[in-house]
């Protein structure tokens, strides 16, 4: 076991992580659409925040800092609503949708 062996494993893990990101973002987008459309209960915002939190904490470690930052911005925006289990109003929803767009762009 060595740092060099770990570097090789890290490269493989990073490639795997990048490959898994589009699926994660589709799930996030789908959950957000369900929440905004009233098809999911507001307490599902906890799940949405957790997914964003996960990406914010992991993407930079795998070498994609922009994704980490965009996820952190979306998570931060959602946090106060999630705590109260209260959906953002229409204007705030539009703001959050833009933050999700930023995240998707960063992941391309």
């Amino acid at each position: 076991m060595s740092a060099e062996a770990f570097r090789r494993q890290l490269e493989a893990l990073s490639a795997e992580y990048r490959g898994s990101l589009p699926g994660k973002l589709i799930e996030i987008d789908s959950l957000w659409r369900d929440l905004a459309g009233g098809m999911a209960k507001p307490d599902r915002m906890d799940d949405l925040q957790r997914e964003l939190h996960s990406i914010a904490g992991s993407a930079r470690t795998f070498g994609i800092a922009g994704v980490s930052e965009a996820a952190a911005a979306a998570e931060s925006f959602l946090e106060s609503f999630s705590k109260r289990h209260k959906l953002p109003d229409t204007a705030q929803q539009a703001r959050f949708a833009r933050l999700l767009d930023d995240l998707k762009r960063a992941a391309r």
């Binding site: 076991m1 060595s2 740092a3 062996a5 770990f6 570097r7 494993q9 890290l10 893990l13 992580y17 898994s20 957790r50 939190h53 996960s54 914010a56 904490g57 992991s58 993407a59 930079r60 470690t61 795998f62 800092a65 980490s68 952190a72």
Partner: protein, 128 residues
């Protein structure tokens, strides 16, 4: 003389992070790491293997990191095991809150996988 850090219990619900932290601490840091994906699994693992240090994620479903720490501190057999939190929410107030709960230290995500072991060992070195 204080023994060198050899065994770490990692508690992290996110599979990607769990894999990379375990590999980094083992392959670069030479540590023996047991990894758990939940607080309940961690409590069972601590009872079974008594790690020298617990590296604990904060935000987890079901039992979160502070909940695990509280359970460890409430058991005389595990109360002295140092706990280091690993968190993506590293605001000064959050770090202060986690230290006040009894954390030995708070490490932040994202982290550099190549140097994470140095940070963990540095925390171990500061403990009495």
């Amino acid at each position: 003389m204080k023994p060198a850090l050899q065994t770490v219990l990692l508690v992290e619900d996110e599979p990607d992070i769990r894999t990379i932290v375990k590999a980094a601490l083992e392959m670069v840091g030479g540590l023996k790491v047991r990894a758990c994906e939940s607080g309940a699994e961690a409590l069972a693992a601590v009872a079974e293997s008594r790690p020298q240090l617990v590296l604990l994620d904060v935000m987890m479903p079901d039992m979160d990191g502070p909940g695990v720490l509280s359970r460890l501190r409430g058991n005389p057999d595990t109360a002295a095991i140092p706990v280091v939190f690993l968190t993506a929410k590293a605001t000064p107030s959050e770090i202060q809150r986690l230290r006040a709960l009894g954390a030995a230290d708070v490490l932040t995500k994202p982290f550099d996988p190549m140097t994470l072991h140095e940070k963990v060992k540095a925390v171990w070195a500061t403990l009495a």
